[in-house]
Each structure stands twice: as structure tokens, then as C-alpha cells.
Symmetry: D2
Subunit: 177 residues, 4 copies
């Protein structure tokens, strides 16, 4: 059975977006990406910086409210439906609650053939890359690097600390059926 | 029954994106947008400028191949599933085949409460706005202005030729239940 | 003597950027743009949201500190030097202090042939356009619409309230030698 | 005498932009950046993809015409004037003609205290990063990696192949007076 969905989980600045671009360029079949940032980008103003939606603390922590949870559930069900209808989807996500988030996502992706990918990067490196990107909330990257992989089970894991993004993507692509 | 989906149909440079931003700002409930451009933006390189995917002719015409059709169908089924799962969705689209495209979309949105909106703008004005935007293929706007509304049936129609974007959005918002 | 510099003055959301893109597309000679926003975009983080640099009040007011003044003076002298060296430059600016700002800029542009352009738009329209753009500080547009033209003398004036951007650019282009 | 100008020279995808962002974040004084890409970004449509302006060959080569040369000279004189007027400027450039380009730039920067920085990266790594960025002309990065440093003399050199961007910036910052 062919792979329908690739899930990339990793903290902020770990290098997920670059891996997504590489995968789309090197995989022989057409893949599209639908990540958690894509949902955040299209939230209405009332759901940003609000306790019910998505807001960000001073130290880089992400605070998710009830309206976000409802919206994210509907979004994820829709992404799963796209995959069931034949689209190959790369989901890049940040499992703030680690294994608990994986289980919830696994539930939505039932009956699909999912490749679970861990994107690691050392806290020291993500902290430096956060500064180099210039548009990120300081502290978020290091905070997430330590926690998003807790209790998560992967089919393949890559580490961008010392490897080029394209090489990480190639390692992942070998597992795509 | 509440409105689940707002479909905005109009040619390039007619002002759909501005109306989407206004609707998200003024509607009391949270709405997210999922337009045809959002799908194009996430296509892999192999599907752009290719006969099977999406390509653009010298005169501004859009050429859609079989791979695009398959991808768009899966995408639309997913968007409909998001709405059925409780997300309020604004779809901004360009019905290149007019009423035929509406019927296909209507099929995907079955059981949902859809508000169909026509976004008009004179061919002269869109041609000028295309130049003012600077990043568009010359000719596309005028070409589409004439054809995308053929055979399409609307619940509400707005014309951005002489009206401010926000005023068009307000006129639409009055029809949202 | 040929026009070396076009100065566009108008408040936020009055439509200056669109006019700049149109002018660059329709003028027969090559023109480049160097506006106040281009300087703000390249300020270091320490000069943004700081009392010494550029910061923004709750009501949309812009607060300029001493470091900004020094930086802006050096920037403007450099832009004038580009024009003296043969580059045709479009400066789009917001004269927060009206005529006083014009006199200071006039001093920097000595010996150059400057076309002074006023870009008007009604406070009601800019307020609506600010919402349609979605990424602006609410209130800034209306606040500036009322004040940036005070005591400023123009060679040509356009009003984007009811006119297309391209038509405004064409009216300006007729005055370029 | 304090450093007025930092010149970063390196090929496409070598990591100059990230170093620029880091330098602006870590240097105690305010610095602004004015690179060759900033000029290209503001060229009128008539100078792009034209033999007189800037165009790009199939293999990633950059072709510069006479109009570009005139514009670049005026631009560079203006940037030098900004620095002479007190602004601290980071110039990121691609010396397509190596040492010849350095000599021309050195002429424009006379009387200023310039820190010349070489930004190296292996051809293998830039080729991979070009794919990961997704919006670059294939081949340009590897082509430039081999040639832009020929005959150029530096005050400090960094290599982004195995080092984090921020660490490269810190090494450069130690040389800024």
C-alpha cells in the first residue's frame, strides 16, 4: 500500500519547512503540504492573541484555547479527507503535547498509510537559527526542542543539527512507498 | 440553519482577497479561507508550468491538466469535510468554466449551507489593477472578467469597480446567517 | 532639465505603493523606488519598538526618536546622491509634520529637479482600506490622512478615493520631463 | 576609527542574508543593510529579463547589461554617501567578476573604513541549499561558489558549510570596531 501521508514533527526552527520543500522537489509523485502553520496563517484576527484562539507567552510558549481546538479538529478531519480522496499530503506539525498529540492525529488519520517522521535538532542550534531567521519569538525554539518528541513513535528520524536539509529529505524519501 | 461556506467567484484582480480579509475581520464568528490560489501555492514544482498541472499561456489564459483536476477534486472534498466538521470556510475561486464549475463545486458541498457570491469588476478596471499589482500575468484579468460569471447563479453580487472593498464585504455579511 | 526625483507624499493606505508600481511600469525611462518604508524595513531590531527609533502608539500614531532622525538624514543624503549620480528615484514618504518635512527634504534634494506629488484619499476610504489590507495598525490611516498635506506645496495632486491607481499614475507621468 | 561599512561577498545560497540578520541583532550599534538584491528588487519591469538590465541564463548564469551597470554605479555611490553621512551599512554582494568587482567597489567606498568579509560555502552544500529554498534558479549557487572569491582580499573569512549562521556572524562581529 502506498504512503498517503507524511507527518513531520519537530520544534520551531528545526528545519521542517526546508525538508517539506525538498520532499516536494524530489519525490516522484505530486505531494502538497498542509501544516499547522498554514491553519494559523488563515485564522481571523479575533483568534490571534486571544485566550480562546492562539496566543504566545513572553518566554516563547504557545497558548491554545478552546476555539483553536475546535478549529484544528475540523481542519485535521478535512486534511484526512483530502488524503482519502487521493491527494498525497505532507503534514508538518509541532506536537506541543508530544505523544498525546500523536495519538489524537493518529485517530484522525485512520485507514491512511502514514509515515511518521521525527525532525530533531539540538536546542543550541535551534536557538541560534531562531536569531538568524529574525522573525521568530525568542525562546520558542529551545523550549519546543526539548518537549515535542516526548512519547512520540517514529518510522524514521532525521537530525538537522549537522546534516543538510536535502540529505534529511532524501533519508525520508527512501521510506516513502 | 447557519451558513457553513461562503463561495466568492470572480476573475483575477476583481478584489476577492481584500473581501476575504474584510469578511474575516467583520464577521462575528471565526471564518478561515481556503481558495484555489492556496492550492496552487502548495503544488510541487513538477505540477507548475507543466501540461499535466497548471500552466499559463502568453495571453493570460490558464491551462489545467489532468493531474490538476485530480488534485483539485481531492482538495475540494477535504475543504467540504472541514466545513462538515464545523469550520466556517470562505472559498475564493475563479470559475474558468462558469456555471459548469459551479455545478461541480455544488456537488462537493452537498448538505452544507452555501452562500454563493459573485464578485464583479469591469474589464477596464481589472486591467488597470493588474498593472498596479505588478506581479500578475498581463491579460489574465480582462480575459477572466468576461467569462467567469457565465451561467453562474448567485445569492448576492457585489461590484468592486466603484465600491470600497469593505463596503462589498458588509453587503455580503448581511446575507450570512 | 529632466526630472530626477519624484516625491509622493500621502498618508498610510492612500495608495502610494500602487502608484509607484504603475509609474515604474509606464514611464519610458528606468526608475527605482526608495521610500521611508524601505528604511523602516531594514532597521535593526533594537530600533523598532524603541523610544530612540520608530515605535507605534495604540491609536496609530508614529513616534520617532533621535536615532531614527539621524538614520533618516543619512539615508536621505544617500538617496539624493544616487539621484545626482544619474539614477531616477521615486521617493514615497509620509510627511507626518507636513510642510516642515517637505522643507527638510527639499534641502537634501538641492540641485535636483524634483516633481512634488500629493496623493490624497478621503479619511473614510483610507479607514476602510486599512481594514481590507489586514496588516495595518488600526487608526493610523485616518490619523495621517488629515495631517500629512498641511503646508505642503505640490506640482501635481491626485486623489485615489474614486480614481484607479493607474489613472493617478498616468496623471503624474504627464508631468515627468 | 570605527567601521563604517561591512561588505559580505559570497555566492548565492552561501548564507549571506542570515548573517546580515544576525549581525543586525548582535552588533551594539544600529546597522542597516543595502545589498545588490535590494537594488534588483526595485528595478522596473523593463530592466528585468532584458539584455540591457539583468537577466538569467538557463544554467544559472547572471547576465548584466549597460543599463544595469549605470544603475548599479549610481546606487553604490548613494550607499557610500549614506555611510559618509553616518549610517552604518552592511553591503551583501556577489562579486561575479571577483577581484575586479572588489576594486570597483573599493573605489566607491574611498575614505570609509570597510571590513571585507568572505562568506564561503562548499559547492556541494550550496547546491543542496538551493533546492531546499525552492525559489532559486538551479545551478546558480554552484556556479557562483567557485568564482566569486577569485582575486578578492578579505579582512575576515567565514565558512557556513559546517558552522551555524550565528557563529559566523559572531566571528565577523569581533572584527567590527
Amino acid at each position: 500500500m502506498n504512503t498517503n501521508v507524511i507527518v513531520l514533527n519537530g520544534g520551531s526552527s528545526a528545519g521542517k519547512s526546508g525538508i517539506v520543500r525538498c520532499l516536494k522537489a524530489i519525490l516522484p509523485q505530486p505531494w502538497i503540504n498542509m501544516g499547522v502553520d498554514d491553519l494559523i496563517d488563515r485564522l481571523p484576527p479575533s483568534m490571534l492573541d486571544s485566550g480562546n484562539g492562539v496566543s504566545f507567552g513572553q518566554g516563547g510558549e504557545v497558548i491554545l484555547g478552546d476555539d483553536w481546538r475546535a478549529m484544528e479538529t475540523a481542519w485535521t478531519k478535512g486534511v484526512a479527507a483530502m488524503a482519502r480522496a487521493g491527494a498525497r499530503i505532507i503534514i508538518d506539525d509541532v506536537f506541543l503535547s508530544g505523544g498525546t498529540d500523536q495519538e489524537r492525529l493518529r485517530g484522525h488519520l485512520e485507514s491512511l498509510n502514514v509515515l511518521w517522521v521525527g525532525v530533531h535538532c539540538s536546542p543550541e542550534a535551534v536557538e541560534k537559527r531562531e536569531i538568524a531567521r529574525g522573525d521568530r519569538i525568542p525562546g520558542m525554539a529551545a523550549l519546543q526542542a526539548a518537549t515535542v518528541h516526548k512519547g512520540v513513535v517514529y518510522d524514521v528520524e532525521v537530525d538537522t543539527t549537522h546534516a543538510e536539509t536535502l540529505d534529511c529529505a532524501r533519508a525520508i524519501a527512501e521510506h516513502v512507498r
